[in-house]
């Protein structure tokens, strides 16, 4: 498990773009389960949508991508403690159900193909036992 301080040591993103709060499960090379607590205080809810707050799908993808960075970086001894730049190469995600204020979004990431500087992962978002999104991401990493 990783708390927010440990997460910030891994992820380059910061407020207002840190889209995961905690990592509940971390099995290097196998699996990450990350948590995003979705609060009505999120800035995006004021515009998405006025009077009808729904978490934007692109930000769910961002949360998935950040969880994928955790999986990738913690699976590679050589880059574990290095500052890396990460790039999303491809996104295939299907949204199944909306995410509302008060929801706790759990994101599971598992590797489909992991190389030294790139990975394809499967991603799944759950709120309780409701699956809200699933798909695949491709990301690459560069030093610096």
């Amino acid at each position: 498990m990783l708390n927010i301080d440990e997460l910030q040591a891994i992820l380059p993103q910061r407020f207002p773009f840190l889209m995961i709060d905690r990592v509940e499960e971390l099995e290097p090379g196998k699996k990450v389960v990350a948590v995003k607590n979705v609060s009505i205080n999120e800035q995006f809810f004021s515009g998405h949508f006025p009077g009808r707050p729904i978490m934007p799908g692109v930000l769910i993808i961002e949360a998935m991508a950040q969880a994928a960075i955790v999986l990738f970086s913690q699976s590679k001894e050589v880059i574990k403690d290095k500052k890396m730049a990460y790039y999303l190469g491809n996104v295939k995600v299907r949204f199944l159900s909306p995410v509302f204020p008060g929801d706790q979004l759990k994101i599971k990431v598992e590797p489909l193909k992991m190389l030294s500087a790139a990975a394809i992962v499967s991603v799944e978002g759950m709120v309780g036992d409701r699956k809200i999104a699933e798909g695949e991401l491709a990301l690459s990493a560069k030093e610096g």
Binding site: G89, N90, K113, L115, A118, A138, S140
Partner: protein, 85 residues
Amino acid sequence: MQNIEEEIKDIIAEIIEKEPAEILPEAKFFQDLGVDSMMALEIMAAIEKKYKISIPEEKLTQLATLNDTVRVAKEYLGEKADVNA
């Protein structure tokens, strides 16, 4: 069953978003077809998934044309066929 060349051509076409007919056997992925390194990785992963094979990372740079890709896939499919025989 479609032959492997046709199947792999379809996989590549879908990933790089081109018509299968554009993917000539010796067309160079990077120069002629606009494939980038992430797409090459996706092609490799899609082939592994379809044929349930595992292609090592070093082979990625060898995937330069459709013919190359088919050759590499067959190399690993061959091993699998031997195991199953």
